[in-house]
Amino acid sequence: MNNEDTDNICQSDEDVIASILGGATDDFEIILKRYERYVFTIVIKHMPYEMCQEVAHEVFIKIYYSLGSFKGKTPFKHFVATIAVRCCYDYWRGHYRSMEAPMSSLTQEHSHWCDSIIAEESLEIFKRQQCTKEAREVLRWALNAMSAEERIVLTLTHLEGLSISEAAELLGWSAINVKVRAHRARTKLRKQIIKLISIKDKDGDKK
């Protein structure tokens, strides 16, 4: 580790922010290096893989623009997470608005995946099945049936496991709003799963 890196570690986020606001734009690189992995970890959970870099780029631009509004009452990491989640939400809002054709539908492989999940008794194989490409595609298909609001709320509360108040704080919404949307989203997810099962059952009947 060289001296410059050691200096960067010693500097607190607040010091770095003060120096950026004072005109040392290049110091933003310290913030970028400190939080890039963290931002990517958030973005990759909410975005299609191919969009991650673009959205993460936007997150850092927004962070730079918002540095003046950071008051230091909460940790900077929380400030970064808030901007990252809101950027993901903005992406989906724009995406749904400009969407013309319905998004991807399911194929035979997804139906097989569903079969194997339902039939699997062995925990080991069950766990292996959860991380397949089909699992991710089924999840994407189910999420695509939701509005941008429901999608972000479901991802934060149900999939990530955040509490209602944590999700509300990240999104800047009221807890009641988040609770209502989370309930609706969960119902929609279950409806999608029922649809998936009934597709599978119909296929089974035909055979």
């Binding site: 970890t41 850092f60 089924v138 999840l139």
Partner: protein, 103 residues
């Protein structure tokens, strides 16, 4: 909803949650890093040019006001020479005009 169907839903729901948590590995392209910094520097340059732009707009507006004032004064018949001449004729010793400067 039958108990069997409910179990199936729960199982798939659980599998989807776990697949989400399993997620994908983060790999950051080094080029991405430099692109972000380039974008930030670009924003800084834009910020600088916007304050410069403000100064130039202010200068242009001041010049326009000065020209319009001169034209109006010329139209009304007020010229700086006439104003000064009439001032000195009315107060040749400068007793009135110098009052504000004398304690």
């Amino acid at each position: 909803m039958t108990r069997d169907k409910d179990d199936k839903i729960k199982k798939i729901e659980q599998a989807l949650i776990e697949s989400f948590k399993g997620g994908q590995e983060v790999s950051i392209n080094p080029q991405w890093h430099s692109n972000v910094m380039q974008g930030i520097r670009g924003l800084q340059a834009e910020k600088g040019s916007s304050s410069e732009g403000f100064i130039w707009r202010l200068v242009t507006a001041s010049c326009c006001i000065a020209i319009v004032s001169c034209l109006v004064a010329a139209g009304v018949g007020i010229t700086p020479e006439d104003s000064l001449t009439s001032l000195f004729m009315g107060d040749p010793l400068g007793l009135i005009t110098s009052q504000p400067f004398v304690r």
